[in-house]
Symmetry: C2
Subunit: 244 residues, 2 copies
């Protein structure tokens, strides 16, 4: 882990969103990174800078988040984490572990995508307010079927391993991402989460354990950790949660 | 590339779907694989076998497709291809190329997921017939905004490279997947595709070039290539296509 590498993360500056999975890896590893779009324009930051860098990259990202390190521009959250994992010592060395980590991370991304589509089932080009009836229908299937199916899957994956880590016997970027996913789902769908939590003892312990890791706890208590809000990937709209 | 490795692909036996991206890699490489669920139960195949293998795996897949090779079970299409790419000589050796290949493959997967959601915008647990009004709304935004945005992105990616290959200067699994994506979109949304095609000269040439690769052409003309149909990921429902 050389500290002379400059890591630049580019993501929307006002939401946790998909960028948060990457932020958590840097924060837990204690490796400095520049969260470029959160700097002011006079500091070389801002959204316009991000979009310009994105369009000009030889390997253009389709969307944020993306990472710049040396000559490389790397997009797609799971891809960024597969690249960073070894460098941040957040994944075991062997190929089977890395393949398994990437498999789980992509499944986390799928669940996050489905959570997003509960508030945007018709179009990302429309406001939530313009697709509310469809959002209620989609979220009903999400909280009753999809979210339980995914979370029970991760619970089994954890129970079949050492019970504490999703990959191998050490904390990996996948554990950090699982912490983020569970915290976010608890924020967005508190009733659905409360109903499921008793069936997810390993996952709940993992979430609590990760939150107490010293560098991560410091980050979560800092101003660098953006609050959840209703502009992001995981939004709390009570009408989309499980009904009583 | 050792021919003594036994590759077992597990995927739904009656559709191209996400499994087809993996099939194309094996077929183009000329590397034998067993398409397990397409064998009869008496041959050790079938869907029930697939689901049992899935549930029993130490590293359980969330869903097909998945690959078994030796002791490993590997799921998530892009993850399978990132694993197979080097072994099938379908990706360059250097890390930047592999990261870029994975980034593009994940973006192909995102577009495929959005194409799927045009016919299932509310729930995968419901039939298309039960979500037709919402499907028409979602597909309108897909054919007018999302599909053009993604395809123009891939066109730029190709034009910024050598103009013929998405990754480096040799055919990679990403080119094969792009062929599949373009062919499938042309099947599902022929009017939207016809409108866009003049703006996608590099992509169109890539699709046609890949289709003529000898092993792939042989595969596409064989009974192993399943036809597109309305049970799969890419479905032709004229009412979801661009209107005149």
């Amino acid at each position: 882990m050389s500290s002379d590498v400059r890591y630049e993360l580019y993501y929307w500056p006002s939401i946790q969103g998909r960028g948060e999975f990457v932020r958590l890896a840097f924060e837990d590893a204690g490796v400095p990174y520049v969260d470029v779009a959160r700097l002011s324009e006079s500091e070389g930051g801002g959204v316009r800078t991000m979009l310009r860098v994105m369009k000009d990259a030889a390997h253009e990202p389709f969307a944020p988040p993306f990472l710049r390190v040396g000559e490389l521009t790397i997009a797609q959250t799971a891809n960024i984490l597969a690249f960073l994992g070894p460098k941040l010592e957040l994944v075991p060395d062997d190929e089977p572990s890395r393949v398994w980590a990437n498999q789980l991370q992509l499944t986390i991304a799928d669940l996050a995508g489905e959570a997003h589509d509960t508030h945007h089932p018709i179009s990302v080009g429309l406001y939530y307010e313009d697709q509310k009836p469809e959002a209620r229908k989609r979220s009903e299937s999400f909280v009753k079927e999809r979210m339980p199916k995914y979370l029970k899957y991760f619970e089994r994956a954890l129970a079949r391993g050492d019970g504490e880590h999703l990959v191998g016997r050490q904390t990996s970027y996948v554990d950090l991402s699982a912490f983020q996913l569970l915290t976010a789902l608890g924020y967005a769908f508190p009733k659905a989460w409360a109903r499921l939590e008793p069936e997810l003892p390993h996952l709940t312990r993992l979430r609590d354990r990760v939150a107490q890791r010293p560098r991560l706890a410091a980050y979560l208590g800092s101003a660098r950790r953006l609050p959840f809000n209703e502009d992001g990937l995981f939004r709390h709209y009570p009408e989309l949660d499980l009904s009583d």
